[in-house]
Symmetry: C2
Subunit: 446 residues, 2 copies
């Protein structure tokens, strides 16, 4: 049996490796349009922060290991352009200009997502960059290492924008951030977003909210970015206004799309065609809390989806029950993490969302080196069920969220969650873990 995979990153290479481990007799062909496979997309901005770190550190496994040790036929520079579900073949173009056509028994679309671009004049000018692929990373790191790079503008204050603000700061490049929203991280309670913003401002980052980029020009090796608020000059302009699923190839072939324009899959990661799967950042997923389809592209989910596809292709039926949307990032030494639904998201799907916010400490009463830690917790008034939460702090936020994520998967109520027996020792938190303090307060408000 021939298993063809379009896209050689998290979902694609996980599926390739696991299908070969499950069944060494299977023929696995990976079509990757770039020259890079199996690297950490989420590591790109952190890598940018360190001039001495090789960008190739982000590569988890080299193409040769996949080819020689795992006997996976990885074809680099192969851009799949279309596939024919009826005749089961994929057609495309090789980087040397030749065309290719490959038949498949099972197909996995793991084309990932791309940076969203702004349809404005000058968006293609040198010095205007996005950060999504290893290639993007190479270009940006080179720009950052140029001694004339003194001033960066970031358009979009999402995860990548905030992580890159940190990276520019660490590389001694002045940063200004522009966002079309009225405030930072609008899904987060304002006082929690302020923790991040104030820390960044204290280190010299300037924020401009409610601003829209209109056009970019370049003269004398300088970019001139014109916002509705005026024109600013810069050496680097990072566009970080979100990502879009690479689902066009599926649309062309008549496959159904789902949430967020991503490819619709069932719990076995199968598309509307029984021989075609999709996984990773190009596919949608069930949200465990709402039961509805969502598009929340995440590295772990891509890996898990790839594994599930490999199992299903090799006859070990596997279902992925869904996601709760757990994310974390770090910027300016602050950990920002969330899982499940924000109050607004919860209300949009019909929950009577109750939210509580607490401030606690990262270490026990009197223990040196303690920092503030902020928790927001959301539950449904009618059922008492936990719906989501957010934690922000200088330490102890990142891993703490996973207890809440597990609780969401288990569909726990606040009443059950407050009874969880969590680890306590003075270096790691107060007697009542900040999550429990929040849950106790939330229970009172329900």
């Amino acid at each position: 049996m021939r298993f063809v995979i379009i896209g050689g990153n998290a979902a694609g290479m996980s599926a390739a490796s696991k299908s070969k481990r499950n069944d060494p007799a299977i023929e696995v062909i990976v079509l990757e349009k770039t020259t890079d496979v199996s690297y950490l997309v989420s590591g790109l901005s952190y890598n940018m922060a360190d001039a001495y770190r090789e960008i190739n550190d982000l590569i988890v496994r080299s193409v040769n290991v996949f080819r020689d040790k795992q006997k996976i036929d990885v074809r680099l520079g192969h851009t799949a352009e279309r596939f024919d579900p009826k005749n089961r073949n994929v057609k495309g173009r090789i980087s040397d200009g030749r065309d290719f056509e490959i038949a498949y028994d099972k197909l996995l679309i793991a084309t990932g997502a791309r940076a969203r671009m702004l349809p404005i004049p000058g968006i293609d000018l040198p010095g205007v960059v996005t950060l999504r692929s290893l290639g993007d990373g190479r270009r940006l790191k080179q720009l950052m290492s140029c001694k004339f790079a003194k001033r960066a503008l970031i358009v979009g204050a999402g995860y990548i924008g905030l992580e890159m603000a940190d990276a520019f700061y660490r590389r001694d490049i002045n940063v200004e951030m522009y966002d079309i929203e009225a405030r930072l991280l609008p899904w987060m309670p304002p006082e929690m977003a302020n923790i991040v913003q104030i820390e960044m401002e204290n280190r010299g980052v300037k924020f401009h909210f409610g601003t829209k980029l209109l056009n970019i020009a370049r003269s004398n090796h300088e970019l001139h970015a014109t916002f509705d608020s005026g024109t600013v000059r810069a050496d680097i302009l990072l566009i970080a206004v979100g990502i879009l699923p690479n689902s066009e190839i599926a649309t062309q072939a008549g496959l159904a799309l789902g949430a967020g324009g991503a490819i619709s899959v069932d719990s076995t990661m199968r598309t509307s065609d029984p021989h075609i799967y999709a996984a990773g950042d190009c596919a949608d997923m069930i949200h465990v809390v709402t039961g509805q389809k969502v598009w929340i592209p995440l590295g772990l989910i891509a890996n898990r989806g790839g594994w599930a596809v490999a199992n299903n292709v090799t006859g070990r039926r596997t279902q992925v029950p869904g996601i709760v949307g757990t994310t974390v990032f770090e910027t300016f030494d602050i950990e920002v993490t969330r899982t499940g639904l924000s109050p607004v998201e919860a209300r949009m799907v019909g929950f009577d969302a109750v939210e509580t916010r607490i401030r606690s400490r990262s270490r026990a009463h009197g223990y040196p080196g303690s920092h503030e830690i902020y928790v927001s917790l959301v539950a449904d008034r009618a059922s008492g069920r936990l719906l989501g939460g957010t934690i922000v702090g200088r330490e102890g936020a990142a891993h703490r969220i996973n207890a809440l994520a597990a609780a969401l998967h288990a569909k726990m109520g606040v009443r059950e969650f407050v009874q969880c027996d969590m680890a306590y020792a003075p270096p790691f938190g107060p007697v009542w873990d900040p999550l429990l303090i929040a849950a106790n307060q939330l229970q009172k408000e329900l």
Copy 2:
């Protein structure tokens, strides 16, 4: 109504405060035999490590706040000696030599636990210490600050022993550890216990296993501790061979004892007498994983138990479903944490325990500053249910265990747990969280 509480620490003062918050009209009398209330027992050893930290930093709330702001009648130096369940009164002795007798409507026994002593000659000599109360802490800290304190022996390599080894080390006091067991932390897989032991040995701590302390003598301001392996001299000898519940006062009054010689309580924290409750380190609890009574004294549980008693005394019926035994400590910069059952404990209660052990990293592939992190995970072969786990590492162990603790409370199977959507970003772990790596491997072995 008069609510009398014997013991003014975690369980006792939590119950006192909450019952007053629930019902300001209730009369609350706390009988505390020492002069200290409401301090962090778990913080004692960490406090010892720092000569410049006040021991009183461990006091969470002063007795005056309880008295003046919360209108709780806290009586220090009041040793309750016996109570009469029939006539509902408590008798005892005040530190000034007078006797007292107090009637109650509801009684809470929150007498805590005491350090277990060894019945050997010389155990009462100056320089031979335990560490359980704030008074113990004051004495030990004074000893450690003496310029002649150069050499400490620790008998018992449990949590307190290991934390204190760290404290002695930080105070430039030479440490040797003696334990009757054949190896360090016998409930933990040997390769994980070795992480701790090797780090400690590298910093100069000497271990002597399978040794028993026979007697202690003192001459020329020096202690001479005779073990079955020979005599060793020391300036400080810390006895850290576990703790015992202070349940004698309950036994005398005819109340039923439960697990570990602690006072038996139901899920409302009520003893065998309908007007008498017990909570904290003197009471037993239901273990959520086994459904059986256990005695695992923990700070959070004491607080939670105290709250539940307060609610039940003031007419808000509250149940404590039980504990999973989550603990964490830090020694020599290594975080050691566990929850649920070890394989041996699981087999003792009839589970067909399967254990898996994995080694992973605390940060993503290629991310600087990463350390090894070790996870052991236990499940029941028949049902696939998670039973417990242990995590050891230089970072990322302490808070990570809580996701597993929540999963144990939710009675999750390994199959469900591997599907949990955990936070991933390169500074905080690999794409597959170490807990998930372990769970994936465990699932294969089931």
